[in-house]
Symmetry: none
Subunit: 209 residues, 4 copies
């Protein structure tokens, strides 16, 4: 955190949180529609339900909005994921369930994740690192699950293979939203989940026994 905090002129921290939530909500819906650069600060203010002057009481520059949006998206995704994965016990079923949950979350947040990928580059590299750090935490969740599975003797995998698979899971989840114009014609999210799981598990399942 520390420097990854956007300065507000308003002192009341509760209020800052409330206003920023309004702001992010409005901004996300605008960014979905036209992207960050084609959205004006006035539009963001209006969508948030307050004036341009008020907007600037809660941020310093337009880039702050982008940062807040990106941060909020991953925060939401991670929160939903934490809830979904916290019962995980290192079994094949729980891995399956975790991946299915993750894909569902990514289905829900597909537009938001698209924003992240398209606009994050405009942030200062410090902020990019910070946000990608959150992504790594999510990948690490899958690594942990896989690791447990290995420890439980469900799979036989090296650390490197675990890393690779965790990445693949993560990317396949994003891909659903990313390439929805192609994927969502071919499959429902459930079908897609089944397909990818089968494909992933082919790679990881210990030969019978």
């Amino acid at each position: 955190m520390g420097k990854h905090t956007v300065q507000a002129s308003v002192k009341d921290e509760k209020l800052v949180a409330v206003r920023r939530a309004q702001m992010v909500k409005g901004a996300v819906s605008l960014f979905k529609e036209k992207g960050f650069h084609r959205t004006t600060t006035r539009e963001i203010a209006r969508a948030a339900g307050f004036s341009i002057g008020t907007l600037y009481e809660y941020i310093r520059t337009k880039d702050d909005v982008l940062y807040l949006v990106c941060d909020s998206i991953y925060e939401n995704v991670k929160e939903r994921l934490d809830q979904a994965l916290n019962t995980e016990k290192g079994s094949l079923e729980s891995l399956t369930a975790a991946v299915a949950s993750y894909f569902k979350v990514m289905n829900e947040f597909q537009e938001e994740v698209l924003i992240l990928y398209q606009e994050m580059q405009s942030l200062p590299s410090e902020s990019i690192k910070y946000i990608l750090g959150k992504e790594m935490e999510m990948v690490a969740m899958f690594e942990t699950i896989l690791q447990k599975c290995v420890e439980n003797g469900e799979f036989l995998l090296t650390k490197r293979e675990i890393d690779g698979i965790a990445h693949n899971i993560f990317v396949q989840g994003q891909m659903w939203g990313f390439r929805r114009w192609a994927m969502q014609k071919l499959y429902t999210i459930e079908e897609y989940t089944d397909l990818q799981l089968r494909y992933l598990l082919n790679g990881v399942r210990m030969r019978d026994i």
Copy 2:
């Protein structure tokens, strides 16, 4: 093509092609650095080696530059891919070779592909469709190879499975460039190719014999 053609004031088609090539080259290197929206038309003209007035003799709007850039990128990728895959004969080895070639091409064009993903949204939806069509053609290349493999009795796959695998191959190639900050710490391009091929083939290889 038809409407997917950018109008030029200059008649000499050879010259148009030459100037646009200069323009795209300059623009790509600028877009890599700062993105489409943070790049000005003046900068594009300068990078191309001519004046702002001349730039506008070869395009109508700034968006035309983006279109030309996106189009050119996929044209280049496809061209390289056509070369790499045209000797393909429907065998496991040729599939392996094709995927490896594709990954190599994506490694080479990673920054350009990034541009595509980040900026394509700014194009009119007509242009997006047109360019995504090219992407579909590339996916179709892998479908064809897989189909031939099935026909040759190498694999046993349904049409749907073929589509899914082709997509996965395609996405894993893009993922290399996309998530290079994570992937390229873990693997060399060759290691990455091996890893992904093993997973892919685990899923497609006919159960022994």
Copy 3:
């Protein structure tokens, strides 16, 4: 006075005086640093030790602050000058002492006088006249002293000459602060006083006797 009074919402006149003194003190130090236009009302409030809302309980507009500051500066200068010159008796020595005192005061208030000259123009012309009136009173002090000297037979001067000399004295005092970047490299305030006095008295001293 009359219209040269700044309206306050707060009734308690004692409090008004206290708050305005705080305000002027903070504002002067800000104006010294960055000038009137580059200083915001929020900064003035903060420097004064209260909130922006409170600031506006004691003034009507930002210009009021400038007026109050200008007024206060001359008020302070005049007060110090009154103290210094009230023992004056119309002799050459007392003139000398008066000029020396005045130069000392101007040395002390040089930054404040700079503010006056740089920002007074932003006041409504009514206020300018009012404040310049105070300046005239100060010039008049020197006229009075000179007049007494003439009456005492120390000098032989016409009314016009007295006016001119009084002005010269006044301007030379301001010049010390105004052109301090040039003058204060050449002289100490004492040397400067000596120099200017000699020069002034050359013009006014009655030929020997």
Copy 4:
């Protein structure tokens, strides 16, 4: 010069000079009326006879206008002064003539000099130094004249006295415009010149003869 040059987007140096002259002329008349801070860039552009976009082809920031204005004022004053003083021969008459010329120039440029004193503080300190350097050159002109007079045996003065007198001459010239509301009620410029010259010369004339 060197870094004291304002960057223009337009290449044609002749044109830059012409447009900047228009700009300065318009800006000076606006600054006389309402000061730098109360004048908008749009007003400057309009007064100069071109659009806001064009204005910014010839400057980088609004502060550049102020710099150009300040520079131009002293350039003009110095040029007029150079013309007036170049026939100077180190006699009492030529000193008298020089001072009279200078006062006349300051009478002519009184509003411009007022601008300098009121707005120069807003410039970066580098530019202030550069411009005050020009002022020092003007003071040096009088020092040179006085020095010649001393060499010719007209006056008997130390170097320090010369410096002090040159400063006094310079300040008395500025004072005429500065305090015109007071001075110009009492005297015509000619009378003022006579008066100040008499004082000055009382101080410098060699005893008797």
